[in-house]
């Protein structure tokens, strides 16, 4: 949406809100709230012999305002990005890299009724379990491109109806190609609640996706049917979704499918979750189906199939919580497939333990994934030891190690952290990391961070030093974070 239109829309919304608030008796009944955030980064060059590796400063400011009055909320978010260096010299992995100046990032009017809710402006949306539509912000990964359009949801005792439509910008491609990929998505979902805690539903989505090259749009149609039951006999949850997709590109049309099923059984302190996924040619820019794996690992959803079993238990008598998972996935490739591979088998398992003994808390987990056809093994070890000091203090020792090994190559990134936190005032931490490439090239990184909360509405964070970056995952999505060397500060004020 053009910048002027965004500002006009926001001004109209805020004026409406102001008029509505003015109409309220002595200010009662409405509430103004929001956040102001300022981030300042001084990036220092690491390779002085490289003319493209230069020092630069990045200033990012966000102001979010919301006015809530009766059932209506009106909001806007302004962003200001100021860089000391031209776009081409900034870190290519920084998703903010190609934006600059003042921009109205978000604006909305939201109605929340007993049965009907709706929103015009910017919003995030997903349908079902994300097989047909998934457009979300991910703060950890830095994805923050909402849909600009409208959505409405009607719910009655037995029926839920959702419609959604608008424009959305894909963040990673836009950064990579330095232009906005403005796509259009629209669709809907209906779910009927049946007797015996069962449900039946489905969703349909169409999308027009801007091509990378040549200019033009590709089209996607995807639909799904879903069914299941929640709290069956008080101990069982069942869910299943069956989807088909058609992708019409410049020179070809591809069909694919997505199938997902899960069953969860609760037996006192023990929970058992079984999942099965089967996705073929199923990925498009705006879907993210269940990965049947861990939130802090990366998963493909274009060509993969297989089951996973997760068992967790709260061993009440010892204060321990244990969990373990085993999964076996493969692709649909056959020995006769183009490329000549016989599949992409992967076996993964992990186990974890949480234990509290008096003032000491420990949590640790080990993840192992063997890509059998690729000849690659991944391991991820996490350990945190917390020791209470006094009434409100705590010392934390943390360990996070990711290793990827192939026949002639290995890459390991390890972070060790020592921190002290004092409630409610904040945390100070020291971080030592190292990156090891095949045992012969080792780089070390040191960093220190202090977070202070002078009040509950104000937070100040300062980091100085270096960090290797690497794979960062949250909510099942992952991306490579840029390395960093320098100083950065963040100030957030909530009002």
């Amino acid at each position: 949406m053009p910048l002027a239109s965004r500002f006009a829309a926001a001004a109209l919304l805020l004026l409406t809100a102001a008029a509505a608030a003015e109409d309220g008796s002595d200010g009662e009944g409405y509430r103004i709230f929001g956040q102001l955030t300022t981030e300042l980064e001084r990036n220092l060059a690491e390779d002085e012999g490289n003319p493209n590796d230069v020092d630069y400063t990045k200033l990012k400011q966000l102001a979010s305002f919301n006015i809530e009055w009766s059932r209506i909320t009106i909001g806007a978010q302004l962003e200001l990005l100021d860089w000391s260096e031209p776009e081409e010299l900034r870190d290519p992995l920084d998703l903010d890299r190609y934006r600059e100046g003042l921009e109205l990032r978000k604006y909305f009017i939201d109605y929340q009724g007993p049965k009907l809710k709706g929103r015009l402006g910017t919003f995030y949306s997903s349908l079902g379990r994300g097989l047909t539509l998934y457009v979300q912000k991910n703060e950890v990964l830095g994805f923050d491109e909402p849909i600009h359009g409208g959505t409405a949801e009607l719910t009655t005792k037995h029926l839920e109806l959702t419609v959604v439509g608008g424009e959305v910008t894909e963040p990673v491609l836009s950064n990579q190609y330095r232009r906005d990929f403005e796509d259009r998505v629209w669709g809907g979902r209906a779910v009927v609640r049946l007797p015996l805690d069962l449900y039946l539903g489905g969703s349909v989505v169409s999308a027009e996706l801007e091509r990378t090259f040549p200019e033009g749009t590709d089209e996607v149609d995807v639909w799904s049917l879903e069914a299941g039951g929640l709290g069956l006999w008080g101990v069982l949850d069942l869910a299943g979704e069956w989807a088909e997709i058609e992708k019409r590109e410049l020179t070809r049309t591809r069909d694919g499918w997505g199938r997902y099923a899960s069953a969860a059984l609760y037996l006192g302190p023990v929970s058992v979750l079984g999942e099965y996924k089967d996705y073929f040619s199923f990925a498009y820019r705006y879907n993210l189906p269940p990965n049947a794996g861990r939130a802090d690992q990366s998963y493909d959803h274009d060509d993969v199939k297989g089951p996973r079993l997760l068992v967790s238990a709260d061993i009440v008598a010892t204060g321990s919580i244990v969990h373990a998972s085993y999964a076996s996935f493969d692709s649909h490739k056959e020995p006769t497939s183009p490329g000549g591979t016989g599949g992409d088998a992967q076996v993964e398992w992990y186990g974890g333990l949480e234990q509290t003994v008096g003032p000491v808390y420990f949590q640790g987990s080990y993840f192992d994934r063997d890509w059998q056809d690729r000849g690659i093994t991944e391991r991820h070890t996490i350990g945190d030891l917390h020791v209470a000091v006094g009434r409100r203090g705590e010392i934390i020792l943390g360990w996070d190690e990711r290793v990827e090994e192939a026949a002639y190559f290995s890459l390991g990134t390890t972070r060790a952290t020592l921190a002290y936190s004092l409630s409610p005032w904040g945390t100070a931490s020291l971080r030592y990391s190292w990156e090891d490439r095949s045992g012969f090239r080792r780089e070390e990184f040191w960093g220190a961070e202090v977070q202070v909360l002078p009040t509950r509405r104000l937070a100040v964070t300062v980091f100085g030093g270096s960090d290797p970056g690497g794979l960062v995952c949250a909510g099942g999505q992952c991306r490579i974070e840029p390395r960093f060397k320098g100083v950065k500060g963040n100030l957030t004020w909530r009002f």
Partner: protein, 186 residues
């Protein structure tokens, strides 16, 4: 995209800050929290405004991948078991993406949580409460339905401060007056 000079930007930000300071109420008169209607783990709808009902409500946003959230949960369950009869309601708002929905109930069972958990997979509710979305993030609502305190993040020992604040609010009547018979010493 527009690229104003730095002086204008600083001025604009100052205006924004002053407007926010002038218009935003302080902690004690913060008004009602943004209302929402979300589904719980069994598919039932929960509307916040209907749950307030003269109770003190602690609304906490969390995700399965958030370690501090995991540390806080047993303390919240303990507090809920102790004070639910006196008028405390804790509502957990899970913000995991929709693809992980099947994992959330086993997770809640693993920690033995008995207070209600609702799902905000699109994070549109979280966005209203905390646009920068760090987790955990919680707010405390008094018996009159006014948002009284925010709790960004969790550090060991925060649960003691929370308990003190909850007891203070439980001792207040719906109009903010002290309730003598409530025995708020805890």
């Amino acid at each position: 995209m527009a690229h104003p000079d730095r002086c204008s930007v600083v001025l604009a930000w100052l205006v924004v800050a002053v407007v926010a300071v002038v218009l935003a109420p302080g902690d004690a008169q913060a008004g009602p929290p943004p209302d929402f209607r979300l589904q719980d783990l069994n598919g039932n709808w929960l509307t916040l405004s209907e749950e307030l009902d003269g109770r003190v409500v602690y609304l906490t946003f969390w995700a399965t991948w958030c370690v501090p959230c995991r540390r806080e949960m047993p303390h919240l369950q303990e507090l809920y078991e102790e004070l639910a009869d006196r008028g405390l309601l804790i509502i957990g708002v899970n913000t995991d993406p929709p693809g992980t929905t099947s994992k959330i109930k086993p997770y809640v069972k693993r920690y033995g949580l008995t207070y209600p958990t609702v799902l905000d997979p699109d994070n549109n509710v979280l966005d209203k409460y905390n646009p920068t979305r760090e987790l955990p993030y919680a707010v405390l609502v008094d018996r009159s339905g006014n948002l009284r305190q925010v709790f960004p993040g969790y550090r060991a020992g925060d649960e003691k401060l929370l308990r003190d604040k909850v007891l203070e609010l439980l001792a207040e009547g719906p109009d903010g007056s002290a309730q003598a018979a409530d025995g708020a010493s805890g």
